[in-house]
Structures are given as structure tokens and as C-alpha cells.
Symmetry: D2
């Protein structure tokens, strides 16, 4: 598989990441950063660093199909993708900078991100009545000021915000929604707090941010003024597929832990593994993972071929996010009380997987959009 030996990734995760997993990382982005800082040099030395960037940017230059397997292996531990610098939100931010950034912006932001010297976030979501699923409700504004812009607004659930050096911010201008690069030490940028969410190991947490007369120069604009939504759409498809890949590894690990448990634990005279209900749960987990992998790989192959995956990636997002959650839920159930504790990471994996049915577009939103699209396509269909 590609230019990366998967066994080496697996080995790295088992030997270096999993032993460093620690409940002290929960809702503690800075502690998590310290551990990632220990891991990155090891990943780099092993040739596992930056799988998603081209070789010219210091990456491994993998195709999407190759990445699928690498990200799954990395994702077995919540520390893996961060260690290999292929975690959200830095990964899609690097892709945005690569596509829309000026030469100067690449030097200033892409290079240090790729090198792992700093972290970033992507500030789009707003509390009600602002932009949630519907970007047209965007309320953060950027207004012209001499030689630049003043940004005002309120953002939350900004993954990665705690400890980030800069944010890519979506704000409304007279010419339409626009993306700006904002340093977090800008006096107009205020990180209100880290929102404790059900998934406790997000790199940089989930920040609530207030922008108050936050002045940025013209060169803070990323890409063209007024194109902010279009860019956001472009980043979404690969971003959600990368999530599918990474979280697949987490679900696979939960399943393996459960299998190990039921192979050993006895009850009422039987090994749990000998009980048909347990066997059926194991089978359903494998079926869910198998279908999830095929749907993800199908998108990866299409992206490598330069095809649109608008529909396929939305179908994959819905199916995979729900299938992986079912896998983790069954794994926890098979392990009984132990599956409920933080001793086994399965309950924590369950918590990490839950938001994926919401983040990057809730299942209900995707279903409605997909349904409308298919129904429209089928009009006039005379077969």
C-alpha cells in the first residue's frame, strides 16, 4: 500500500501512541499538545509524518487511496493522527492554504503548520441565531477599515482553537463571505473558553471565540474576497472523508478489544464468545466496518481520478458515521461493566465517535439534501 508500510504505522501506534494515552488529556488541550510534541519526532523519523501533503511540502505524497489505509491505522489511537500531523483541523487548513494561499501565506502559515511548529483552527460555526448547518446565516462581519478589515462576531465549537496560533475565519463582507487569517494574539481576538464536549480528546479542544474590532491587514484575506463559502465547501468533502478514515481505526480498535474480552470472559458456563448473540454482534461489527471501508475507498478512488464525490461522500458520511458508532456501541455492550469504564478505552471511543453523526453536517441534513438531489435527478426518468 503506497509508499508507507502499514505495518510500520500500526507498530508506531501500538508502541508509541497507545501507551501514552492518558485520561489526563481529557478536556486538556495543552497536556495533549505536550504528548503530541513527544510523538512527532518519532513519527518523522519513522517516515510517517504528513502523509497527506505533497512531497514538495514535506509530505509523503500519498494518493487518497493510499491515505485511506494510513489514516485508518493512525486513527487506532486518538494520538496517532496528531502525531503524524494528519489530524483535523490542521490537515484541511493545510489543504486550504495549499490551494488558496499566496506564496507569502504559504511561507508564513503552511510551512510552520507542516513542520508542526504551530497549530491552527477554522472558525465558521456560530451560536444561534448565527451560522450552524446553514452558512447563509453567517453573522460575523468584516468591514472595511483603512488598509484592512475589522472583524466582529461570535464563534463557538471551533475545534482546535485552544493553543492555536491562527484561525481561518469566515466573515461576511459587502462582497460576500470571505476567509481571513487571524492571529490569535490579535487584541481583537478573545478565546472565551474551551467548551467541554462529549468527545474529550479533540486537539485544541472546542473553543468559543469573540471577535471585537479585530483589525487585520488586506493580506489576511485567504483567496478572493467573496469566495469564502465556495472554499469552505471545497474543504468539506475531503475533510469528512479523512474523518471517516481516522475514525474507522478507532472503531476497529474498539471491536478488537471487545473480541479479546469475549474470547476470555466466561458467564453461566460459557465463554461469551460462544454465545450466539455475541457472535451476531461481532459479525455485524465486521459487516459495518467492511461496508464503511468500501464506501470510503470508493470515494478515495474517485478523488484520485479527479471526479466529483459530492453525492458519494455525503452517502459515505451518513453511513460511516452511523456504522462506526454502532460498532463502538456493540463493543461497549459486549464488555459489560468494563465497557462502561475509562479503564477500557471503549467507552471513551464511544464518546469520541458520537459527534461525528453531527459534525460536518448532521445525518438528517445530509439525508434531506441527498433525497432531494436523487428525487430531482429521477424526474423525467422514464426507464
Amino acid at each position: 500500500m503506497g509508499r508507507v508500510d502499514l505495518d510500520r504505522v500500526r507498530d508506531f501506534v501500538r508502541t508509541h501512541c497507545i501507551p501514552r494515552e492518558d485520561v489526563a488529556h481529557m478536556h486538556n488541550p495543552l497536556a495533549l499538545d505536550r504528548t503530541l510534541a513527544e510523538l512527532r519526532p518519532i513519527a518523522r523519523e519513522l517516515g510517517l509524518y504528513l502523509p497527506q501533503l505533497p512531497v514538495e511540502q514535506g509530505g509523503l505524497g500519498l494518493t487518497w487511496v493510499e491515505r485511506a489505509a494510513v489514516l485508518e491505522e493512525a486513527g487506532r489511537s486518538y494520538l496517532g493522527p496528531g502525531a503524524m500531523n494528519c489530524a483535523a483541523p490542521d490537515q484541511p487548513n493545510m489543504i486550504s492554504l495549499l490551494r488558496q494561499g499566496t506564496a507569502q501565506q504559504k511561507r508564513d502559515y503552511l510551512e510552520p503548520l507542516a513542520a508542526g511548529r504551530l497549530r491552527s483552527c477554522f472558525a465558521m460555526t456560530e451560536p444561534a441565531p448565527g451560522a450552524g448547518s446553514d452558512p447563509s446565516m453567517l453573522r460575523t462581519t468584516a468591514t472595511r477599515a483603512d488598509g484592512g478589515w475589522n472583524i466582529d462576531g461570535h464563534k463557538w465549537f471551533i475545534t482546535g482553537a485552544v493553543g492555536a496560533a491562527f484561525a481561518i475565519v469566515l466573515a461576511r463582507t459587502d462582497a460576500g463571505p470571505t476567509q481571513f487569517i487571524v492571529h490569535t494574539d490579535n487584541p481583537g481576538f478573545r478565546l472565551v473558553r474551551n467548551i467541554r464536549a462529549i468527545d474529550p480528546f479533540a486537539i485544541g479542544g472546542h473553543g468559543e471565540i469573540v471577535f471585537e474590532r479585530c483589525f487585520v491587514n488586506d493580506d489576511a484575506v485567504l483567496g478572493e474576497v467573496g469566495q469564502g463559502f465556495a472554499y469552505a465547501q471545497q474543504r468539506l468533502e475531503p475533510a469528512r472523508l479523512s474523518h471517516c478514515m481516522r475514525l474507522m481505526g478507532r472503531a476497529q480498535r474498539a471491536l478488537e478489544l471487545a473480541q479479546q474480552y469475549v474470547n476470555e470472559r466466561r458467564s453461566f458456563g460459557d465463554r461469551l464468545a460462544d454465545l450466539q448473540q455475541v457472535q451476531a454482534m461481532v459479525a455485524d461489527c465486521h459487516i459495518d466496518l467492511h461496508a464503511s471501508r468500501l464506501m470510503t475507498l470508493d470515494c478515495a478512488a474517485r478523488m484520485d481520478a479527479g471526479q466529483s464525490v459530492k453525492t458519494e461522500s455525503a452517502m459515505a458520511k451518513v453511513f460511516v458515521s452511523e456504522a462506526l458508532y454502532r460498532v463502538a456501541d456493540r463493543a461497549a455492550q459486549m464488555m459489560g461493566a468494563l465497557g462502561m469504564s475509562e479503564d477500557a478505552p471503549v467507552a471513551l471511543i464511544l464518546r469520541e465517535l458520537r459527534p461525528f453523526r453531527i459534525y460536518d453536517g448532521a445525518s438528517e441534513l445530509h439525508r434531506a439534501t441527498l433525497g432531494r438531489r436523487f428525487l430531482k435527478l429521477s424526474q423525467g426518468d422514464s426507464r
Copy 2:
């Protein structure tokens, strides 16, 4: 796609098969045979006949991957696969004869089957306490008689039996289970009745058969004495995947009919297509079909590469049989009262799809077997 233009198959099914669909075919295998006899010359002329056999045997020589799409298109109508002579049970019987038949048996049985001059069936299942899911419970016996064998036993749910010219019969001998080719005009062969099952359009119905001192010569043995189970296993994987392919077409058609209906029908001021619950049902149908196709194609590609699909085909059988049934159930639901009637074929497609969750191994059986296999594999797994 392969050496067959899919549009031509689609066209054949739309123009020739669907207009000939008729509730008078229900539980009436001979009426169904008459319609198929009209359709086969057309299919042959259009170059659509026998997609699954090698060119030497008069087939189209398609790979499994090519077949997947062709069988799906054929399967849009219950008449399609029979018309193209790629329907069960003749299709797997031809493959068995090709693999295990002597030169003489190929001339006597494979050739006329391929030519469509006669039909056949595969007689394995027995009423309780005989062989159902568990072939080791086989009670039909074949005992040595001079120059041949006497077969005694009771079989039922033998798809294709009504109107069949011969049966491949699984019977127990001293040397183990063995397959025999038995002419249905053998005086020891008695077709008791056609069992009316929920799926009303099975070619040759579902027969109940009694064998009473049914004498056959030694050359009636198919393959080696004692290898009957092994052969039966071999035929099962491709047989169930072919079912997946054909029935995918049926489910796809049900969905299209439902889409057409909800695009037009109004209720409480809205087109049904504008209601989110309907949109979500449509999306789920497409997701189910997409995943089903990918799982089936994955097996097809493996079979083309000569790999075992023991595990993958069982996972596909469980998922696809359940997913297609969900698709047909939602399609019927979307169409309301009309979806319950024989006016729209959706209710009939629902009935045709229901047994696939049982035939070729019930979902529960596959889940238990898969679960045990995965749990065994995971033992000693130290990742």
C-alpha cells in the same frame, strides 16, 4: 462495461420483459415458462443470452465484475434473468456441470440447459427432521443396486422443480453425500406439488418431491462419490452473489417507481417529494443500494482474481439481502395504498425479496458462522 452494452440490457428489459409481466404468472410455472420461451430468442438475437457461461459453451464469457452490472440490469424484471438464461437454479447447475460433469454429462445436460431446451433443479433441502440449513442432517439415501443406485427420500422447497427435465439430487451413500443427476420422468421420482411461497415468480416454482426406489445408473453420479457436500459448498458462494446481483435490479426498480410516485403525488398541499421524511427514505434507499453494490462488486473482483470470498460473500449475503428488503419496504411505504396493490409491482417485489433473507443461508446462520470465524481469528491477536 465488458462485452455487453448495459443500455442494451436495460432496453431489452424495458421493451420486452416488463410489458410481459403478468400476475397470471403467479404460482404458475408453466405460464411463466411460456413467456420465457417467447423472450429467449429475442435475448439471443440481441446478444444478451447466457452472460455467465464461457464463449465455448455458447455464453458471453463475462467476468464476474462484468456480470454484476448485467445481472442487475436483467434483474429489474422477474422475467429478465430467465429470458437471458442466467436465472437460478439453471445458472448454478450449469456451473456445476461445467466443473464436475463428464464429457457425456456435459453433452446430455449442460448443452440443452445452455440452449434453453430444458430446465433443471437442485434437490438438497428436506422437511424436518431432514436437511435444512444443516446438510449433515441429510436423510435421503442412495443405496447400491446392481449397476446403479436406488434413491429414497423426501425433498421440498426445490426451486425450479415444476417443469424441470432433471434434478441434481444430494443423497447420502456409504461413502458420504453424493450428487446424482435424476430425470424427472424416472418412475421413482414423484413431484408431489408446487409449494406456494411468498415469492410468486420463481421459475419452476418450489417443488415437493418424493423419491421411492428411484433407480439410476452409475453414470448418474455427478463428480465423485462422497464429494456431494464439497460441490454444494462450491456452488453456494457464486450462487448467492448472483442472487445479490439480480435482486439489486429488482430493488432499484422498486425505488424508481416510488420516486416517480412521490414526485407527482400531493398531500396536504405538498408534493410527497417535498416532505423530509420521504427525502430521508429515498436517501436511505440509495445508501443501501450503493453499499450493496460495492460489497457485491468487491466479491466479484476477488473471484475474478481467483481469491476466496468465503467471508466476504457471507458478509455481502447478509447485508445485501437485508438492505434490498429495506429498500423495497420503504418504496412500498412511500407509495401508500398503491404500494400495497398488485397494480404497482412494488408489493410483489417486496414479496420476491423477503425469502432472500432465508434462502442460501438465513441471516442468523451467517451471523453466527461469521462471528465465530472472526472471534477465532482474533484469538492470540496482540495488536
Copy 3:
């Protein structure tokens, strides 16, 4: 339980109804009528006739709670409710006549219905673009003619129409929707055909009817002109609860047949009853039936207390229709191939239960209505 000994109902159904079940009744309302005609005198003699009518009308005068158990027992066979004259659509028609009928109408229509001398139907549903789920789309009209009305329109899926002596017809007048009693031998009434639906044993089938200048006198109006919808709403709640009760019996019987089967059938060395997946399916069936009974009984008790069950009956309709279908589906699955055949009635029960998720308001419609009602109620909720 009430004034009817349930064991006597059970006995009647076992001894007289089930042995008379016959696939020759499928889509053959007149054959079904002949069998019911044999059964009714027996039911009357046993004191089981007309449980739902008051004693003054010749009924047993049971409360709703008492009826719940009696209708469930009757419903074990598709012949039971008809034999006891508590089947749809005559049962709700009798209740309508009792409530809205004049003394003359009671003598002319209610009495012979109650006596079982004739049958009736309720003609509301229309093909697209007419009234389906949404009664406001009603297109059948009744226009003033001297001394009466001319009815014109097209109805379908009119359960009970074949062999009915009269229909209660919903038609639009200048003063609003109105119910009319129309004799089926009226020259303006034409039964086009019996629509074959997935449920094969509906008494009087599902008719398609055309009204062409169908003249009726003023005394054909049932209740007040313009109140047709209000009356239709009134009949719906008890009608759907009666369906829940009767079909509960059918699902219960399917489960018992499956239990008997798995207690005897062996596979791979075990009785099927010893397999955990089978045990879990049995448990889920009982849980579904238990919850269904409690929801139905809760409505019955409220109706006996004169309370509205607008919300509770809609919740019960959704839950019970889906739960009973799951029960029948699992029962069929447990019985394998036999569960797919008409030998065991389970596949037929599955077919009978499927439309209940649609008739009397599709699950999706009830969910949307219930959801809106609860959401409205919760507004301003400050708890």
C-alpha cells in the same frame, strides 16, 4: 373478563375458524363470504356475536377494555372477526349508523348489518389527485338534483366493496363534505374491479368504484350535510384501535407457530430453541406484544372513561402497527423456508399485517402530526 369468556372465543376460533382457513379465500371475497355465513350461526349460538354493539342492538354490550381481549382472540384467525361480526368495515359502519343514523336508517341499514344479512363499505379514498391521506383533496361531488343529490366521482381501495349491499360515501357538496348512504345496485354505482392487494383476506376485498350521475334521495344523507369529515374523524380513532386489537391476535398466533417450530426443529446439533439468536427474537416478540397490548388497553380504558384518545390512539397506531409487523417478520424468519410458504400461515399473516403501517394513516403521517402537536404543546413550556 367482561361478559364473554375468553376461553370460549379461543375455542371457537380454534375449533371452527382455523380449520376453515383456506387459500381459496385469497382475493375471493365471495368464497370468503360463504365461509363466514357458515360460521356466524355458530358464533351466535355460542354467545360470541356482535361484541361491540349495545345489548339493545343485539350486541354483547362490552366495554372497550373488554372488547380488547375479545377482539384479540377473534383476530387469531382472519375468519374470526367476520364470524363474530366485529370486522371492518361493517363494525365502524354500525357505530356510525348508531351515532348519526335516523330511526329509519337504523331500521334499514343498522339492523340488517347487525343481523349479518348484508355487508357494507365506507367509500372515502380516491386515486390521485383525489383524497388519499389528505381528505381536503376530496374530488367526488354531490350536487343538488330535485329531491336529492347526484354523486359523481372515483374511489378505490374501498375495503369491503365487493358484495356490499350499500356504501357510506364521502362526497363534496356546496355546504361541505357530506356522507351519503348509497345502494350498490343504484345504476349510478359501478364496481370496476377488486384491487388485489398484499393482504389477501379482506372481507369484501378492496374495490375500485365509479359514481356516474348516481342519484340518491335526501334521506340518503347520513347525519348533517357538511359534517362528513367530522364524522369520518370520529370513526377513525375507534376503528384503528379495533384494528390493533384484531391484528394483535394474528401476530400472537404467528409467534406461537414459530415457537412450536423452533421447539422441535433441530439444526447443527441444537434445537433451534436452544440458540441465543432465536431466544432473543422470541423475547423481542413478547416485548413488542406486551407493549402493544398495554398501549391499546390504555386507550380502551380512556375511551371507556369518555376521554379523548386523539394523541394516545395515534401513538398506539404507529407503535402497534410496526411492532406487530416485526413480530410476524421474526416469526417467519425463525421458521426458515417453511415460514415463507402458504403451508404455515405465517407468511400470509406477514402479508396481512403489512398494510396496517399504511391504512388508517401511514406511520409517517402520524409521526409528523404527533411531532407537530407535541412541539406546539411544549412551546412556552417553562419547566
Copy 4:
């Protein structure tokens, strides 16, 4: 409803408990105890204290049916049941002491528990290979020593252990399993740690405990020697029903929060409450809660009538635990990102509800037991 005005309970929870909910209580049993200590005097003053005990013991003497509604109201906040001293494990421990305790034990343990002067726990579950679901695997032993017993063993997931004054311990003796009352300051009793589980607000946490030559006098035996299992079984049915009641309140509250959210939040031009998928989710939540209440009340009425609820309480446990979890999961989903955060308590309620599908017998265990019981009952069933 009973001798307790439900509005007063609701009021108490809204006014006193919910404002004191605090994420600082997570995995911090002692902080939680301090808050409960503030609340109990208020509950007592309001006449809401100890609903489950007879009046003679200082309780409110409610029947089970009365308790159902009171416990549901209390359970709207995780602080409610503890404040009213009707929380697990003290509640079932008081019932055990009431039933099996000597007069002296009642004075020493029941009275202070009822007064809220101390807390207790019930120590049954052991780590593998000890007693989990299967009590026959009990490995903790009590061996005769002069004038008493020495207890040795290892327990975990002992809810309530942190801060408890005594434990009721199940240990194996020569005469069979026996319950002992053990002071937690006994030198042979060692609380190893608080196991952090997915439900963060358990009173007294989930303790891991080691018993090492833990000597107790003869009067530490609760009830009769050898009857420990029988007593444990007796406490289980009411205990799990009380859980159903309390957790119903939590699920109900999650739903109300979600309803409030979707009534206000807009997306793509609609209020979320106007979207059919949301309406359907709301409807399903109410249906789940309605069925859950009816199943719980049915058991309560049977218990009040002195009937066995062996089967009904197991059916209720399976259904209610799964239904409530579905309610909380849908509520979280409806609230989007906010539903994932600790800002809204919904994500926390989701975490609190997850273990109920495992604690008190996993769903799979109950399903297998119920299935076997029903299948046995149906043997020889000739209806």
C-alpha cells in the same frame, strides 16, 4: 397521585436541584454528597423525603404506582433522587434491611440510612473471572473464624462505595452465598479507587474494593446464612423498576430541552421544529416514553397487588433501558453541536443512560433468559 403532590416534586427539582447541577460533581462523589446534604433538609421540609419507606420508618408510605410518578419527577435531575433519599443503592439496601434485618440491624443501619446520616453500598460484582452477570461465579469467600467470619475477595463497579459507611457484601460460605454487613472502616476493607465510568454522577461513584482477612462478627450476617443469592434476586426486581422510574425523568427532561431548542433554532429558512425529520424524532421520543411508562406502571400495579413481576420486570428493563437511551440520543441529535456539549445537560444525560442497558443485567442476558422462559412455557401448547 398518592399522598405526594407531583407538582411539588417538580417544583422542588426545578427550584432547588437543577440550579445546583454542576460539572464539578463529575467523578467527585464527595462534592456530590455535599450538595445532597444541602438539599435533603429542603426535601424533608417539603414532605418529599423517603417516598419508598413505610410511614413507620419515616417514609411517605407510597404504593409502587404512586412511587412511579414521584420517582420520575425526582429523576429529572441527577440530584433529585439523592435529595429525596430514594436513590440507588441506599434505596434497595433499605428495603433489604427492612426485610431481612434483625431489630438491632434496623436500629444500627436502617435508621441512620433513612435519616440520611450515612450512605451504604451493595458489593456483589467481581472482576473476571469472578461474578459478573453470573452470580454462581462468586469468588469472594467468608470463612469461619472464632465468633465470626473472615471475608476475602475482590469487588468492583460497586456503586456508592466512595464515602459509604457500610457495605452489604455477598460472599461464598460453606453453607452457600451469604450477605454480610461490613463497616468500611474495618481494617480488612480497602477501597482501592473510584472507577471512572461513562455515567459521571453516580452517588458514591463506582468503587473497586479489596477484602483481606476482613473479620466480622456473627451479627454481621444479614438474614440467613446461605440465602444470599435469594435475597439478591428479591432486591433486583424492585431495584431495576426504580431505575426505570428515575431515569424516565432524565430522558423526559432531555426531550423537553430538545423540543425547546428546535422550537427556536432556525436553519435554511425553517425553524427546526418545522422539519419533518425533527417532528418524527419528537414523535418517536414520546412514543418510547409512553410505552416505557405503561410497562413500568403495569409492573408497579402488579407489585402493589402482590403479584410476581419476574417476567414483566425483565421485559420492562430491556424495553425501557433501550427506549430511554434512544430518547436521549435523538434529543442530543436534534440539538446539534450544542447537544454534544456539557453546556446543555443532554450529552450528560446520554452518558448517564448508557450503562442502564448493562447494569442490572445486560439486555442480551435478559433476552436470552426471557426467550428460554417463553419457549419452555409454549411447549406442549396446543392452542
